[in-house]
Symmetry: C2
Subunit: 569 residues, 2 copies
């Protein structure tokens, strides 16, 4: 029964999609006059000044010079000061830096905008996860750990997307992870726990978020879709084509694509996204996360890629949202910066940062051409306690220097302070650690040997590991943090992390951290943790209202200020 | 012969000191009219505007409103963003925070001044040591690793102290490490390597640095002083009293105290320092480093302390330097923040940060009362790749929440996100790891057991270690980085660090890092390295010219801007 219902649905849906429903009006325009009226009244009451004129103005003209029509919030997930440092160091010091003018876009923003620092801890603890961090930014209210759009007392907290809508503005979320993942979820959903991504998807539809672009089809399709022989699966295959394989994570047979299609254009690849010219859009470009930045950069040369780039998604989101003359709120997440940090994968981390910085460059350029858009670039926390660091080997050789002070003495530092060439070698990585282990785990059991791992790693990295390293990476130990029924800590054995093992909690993923350790000395790279740290993050603001974000603030204060500015306060 | 010369010297010197030579004029005042004339001319030529009037004005009145008369540079050595985060987190979130208004002074400065970020890497490498870092700040020129006041080509680079003097201003250096240590040395000496502290002391005298306050008597006294039965040693004992024991690190029998006394008041404890009312002063309050902040804080209650506090040194330095109506340059270093980071000692790190922040509070208050002083607070690098981090144990228990979203579901995060109570326990540490191991190493050989270490640690910390932990801390391994004749890597075995061992390079000191690892999970603390990282550091500027320090800069640019401002450009 589930199947036939699904199949039936899919016939209508896929036809509608393939011919393109196009151009449905997005929130805040003429679609829902009665709602709009209410919103205008609310806006007037809240703002305490004339609401934006209901008469349509040409896009790009602010209601009031220097006031905030649009807010674009860009979050580098896990992009703490050390990660910014990696981007900076690569841009300025890599012998073959690919960064235009050797200056990251975020550094340019710092020169022209306002620099701030942000504490990120949730209620009652020192370290945040991404859900609580996003919630605090999105609502201005303190959240408990792992809560989504919920304050620490357990109540739904009004978020920036909802506030934008009440003001007649549009709202969008863009990410390279699943669109229902913790960071975007904090901005438009209310759930007790970040793992409830199926419910988050429903919240998005209830909230009518105007632009939703990212990965994560798996939380939108019926459970039955997981059986590839089912009619449901065939219906979805018709729609998604061979772009990517899928299976469902839902526990029901609700087909959220079907539920969405009355109000959304549904797109699944970059060509379909390119065709959207106006209206609401739900773009799901992968079953789970989108491709990592290493893959995006590798594919950029050719034309085989089906997924849009991060810049492509950001550009389309802005183009659509900016059609609402009342303005918009847009959150763009570089979500895999965090994942590279969790995995001690510095090569992928660098590429993720470069990718995110390219988006900053695009968005900053767009916003700089107008005086009505506040752009904020920040992070939700630091991941990995990462750093370049100096070591005891190999020791530098003595060198002669011409200068007066060195007559009679060679220049020979006591330690290895990290040659600049490591930056190019880090950039030269061909595959993320995640992809390496995905490939390894896909091998038949008897081929999953240290020798095979060695070959895979040394093919992908410009830093060689030895067979002993590979053996160490595959070594196991008793899980001292074993917890029955726990989502992550439920295995009796785990990869063998010697020191700080309590901070490596993601089971088999810790093999990636061991790979990170194996090449650490060659890279002059250190990692303190497999999770997050509470190190304050950098925030840059540019545009109207930017001066409210200088100095040190807590993320709830940043959220409050964004809300005030969006309201015209 | 060496002895009798030394004894002879000491008789005159100690008499002169004990009765107090007091009030010798300091640089830029009336002592050296011919030099001053030259300096005035230079100042005129360089500045391109009228030099400060030679007529004495009441202190506190600037030559020109809003121009920079004084620059005070405060360097938290190793105080990267994670260390600032520790201070912030303790101030705001510790249940029993001792920070006034729960707001660090440096945070207040951020709200009122200009916030910047600084890259710190020296020439040709990614990670800096403190000498190259200080050199770049002090001279605006790129330095090689471990160089002191020397650019990367090996030439002496003019520093802020010399520039101040040329302008008729006074100059001072204050630190809680040895006054000849890397950071202060970079501001007033020119040597090929930071270890040449004996030569640095001579450079200070040549440069006539007006105020020198810190530890490190050992580089100023003749080699013969190391023999406690020598007349030289007796002479020095007469002077220093029982305040601290001493031995020399000099390779000659030059007595720099004797050489200094014609121009400096020499002081060795806080009472002597208090008596200095004007003129040049050389204060050496310990044979090597001064007491750590834990000790300063413990002694603050009683009146047994002989050393001045950091605030006391800063206050006296400012009081003396501000008597020069042409103004001054002062560098104040919180040097043991770095050491606590090297030692993975979070309790001492917190106390060092609180101590430094108290100095910031004092200096900011002083500078805020005038409009002629630029105050810059920053760091030279990050140390330790430190962070609070979340772990897999102990797991939080489920809790009921009243809020709507949690009806039918308990609040139970998946991980240990670090309870706030760890902050108070960290603050409650009684002794630094360095002092614990000093005590341990002073035991007779057969008493240096794991049991004894266990007792010492558990007496000093509010986090308990087990006997197994103590055994692990004392375990050894082959030194894989052994290097014959190397200053640090010359032992065949070292304490057994499993992971990232290449970054633990200070021999027996690594036992402290192992202690840090043993309590890490209880503290929710991680450490990535035993050395420094290249993470950009925070910079806060307040006062005239502060707006030149916003955004991201390299340390050489910061140095150049300070030089420009000091010159009135």
């Amino acid at each position: 029964m589930r199947t036939s219902y699904a199949m039936l649905s899919w016939v209508g849906l896929s036809i509608g999609l393939l011919i393109g429903t196009g151009g449905r009006p997005i929130h805040g325009q003429n679609s829902r006059p009665s709602e709009l009226l209410v919103e205008n009244q609310e806006a007037k009451q809240t703002v305490g000044q004339p609401a934006a004129s209901p008469v349509r103005k040409p896009a790009g003209q602010p209601s009031r010079p220097g006031s905030v029509r649009n807010i674009i919030l860009m979050i580098g997930d896990g992009m703490g000061p050390p990660q910014l440092g990696l981007l900076e160091m690569y841009a300025h010091r890599a012998p073959n830096s690919v960064v235009p003018d050797r200056t990251p876009a975020i550094e340019r923003m710092m020169a022209e905008g306002t620099l701030g620092l942000m504490r990120t801890e949730p209620h009652g603890v020192l370290v945040t996860d991404s859900a609580a961090a996003a919630t605090q930014l999105a609502t201005g209210q303190p959240a408990g750990s792992e809560m989504v759009g919920t304050n620490y007392q357990g109540n739904a907290a009004t978020n920036l997307v909802e506030i934008a809508h009440r003001l007649g503005k549009s709202a969008g979320l863009v990410t390279d992870t699943r669109i229902t993942h913790a960071t975007p979820a904090g901005f438009a959903a209310h759930q007790p726990h970040r793992t409830m991504e199926n419910e988050v998807a429903l919240d998005y539809l209830d909230n009518q978020v105007d632009v939703l672009l990212g990965g994560g089809l798996r939380n939108w399709i019926p459970q039955a879709a997981s059986d590839p022989t089912s009619a449901t699966a065939m219906g979805i295959r018709q729609l998604v084509g061979d772009r990517f394989s899928f299976s469902s994570k839902r526990k029901d047979n609700r087909n959220l694509l079907l539920e969405a299609r009355a109000r959304y254009q549904l797109v699944f690849d970059r060509q379909m996204l390119a065709q959207v010219q106006s209206g609401r859009v739900l773009g799901l470009f992968a079953n789970s996360e989108m491709q990592d930045a290493l893959t995006e950069h590798a594919l950029a040369a050719g034309d085989q890629r089906t997924q849009p780039t991060m810049v492509g998604m950001a550009a389309k989101a802005i183009a659509l949202l900016a059609q609402n003359e009342r303005g918009f709120f847009l959150m763009i997440e570089g979500g895999q910066i965090d994942w590279a940090g969790h995995n001690s994968d510095v090569g992928n981390l660098l590429h993720e940062l470069l990718q995110f910085d390219d988006v900053v460059r695009y968005v900053d350029h767009w916003a700089s051409g107008r005086d009505d858009t506040l752009l904020i670039v920040t992070a939700d926390h630091e991941t990995g306690s990462f750093g370049f660091s100096y070591s005891g080997s190999p020791l530098p050789r003595p060198r002669r220097l011409a200068g007066d002070v060195f007559q009679g003495r060679d220049f020979q530092p006591d330690f290895n302070f990290a040659p600049l060439a490591v930056l190019d070698k880090i950039y030269g990585q061909k595959k993320s650690y995640f992809q390496i282990f995905k490939q390894f785990d896909a091998l038949p059991a008897k081929k999953r040997t240290a020798e095979q791992l060695l070959a895979l790693v040394n093919e992908a990295l410009e830093f060689d590991i030895t067979l002993d390293d590979a053996i160490d990476i595959l070594a196991r130990m008793r899980n001292r943090q074993y917890a029955e029924g726990h989502r992550y800590l439920n295995t009796r054995t785990v990869p063998r992390i010697h020191d700080f093992s309590e901070f490596y909690i993601f089971g088999e993923f810790s093999r990636m951290n061991l790979l990170g350790r194996a090449v650490a000395a060659q890279q002059n790279v250190v990692w303190g943790s497999g999770t997050h740290t509470s190190t304050p993050v950098v925030l840059v603001a540019k545009g109207p209202g930017a001066n409210r974000f200088g100095g040190m603030h807590h993320s709830t204060e940043i959220g409050q200020r964004m809300i005030e500015l969006l309201r015209g306060e």
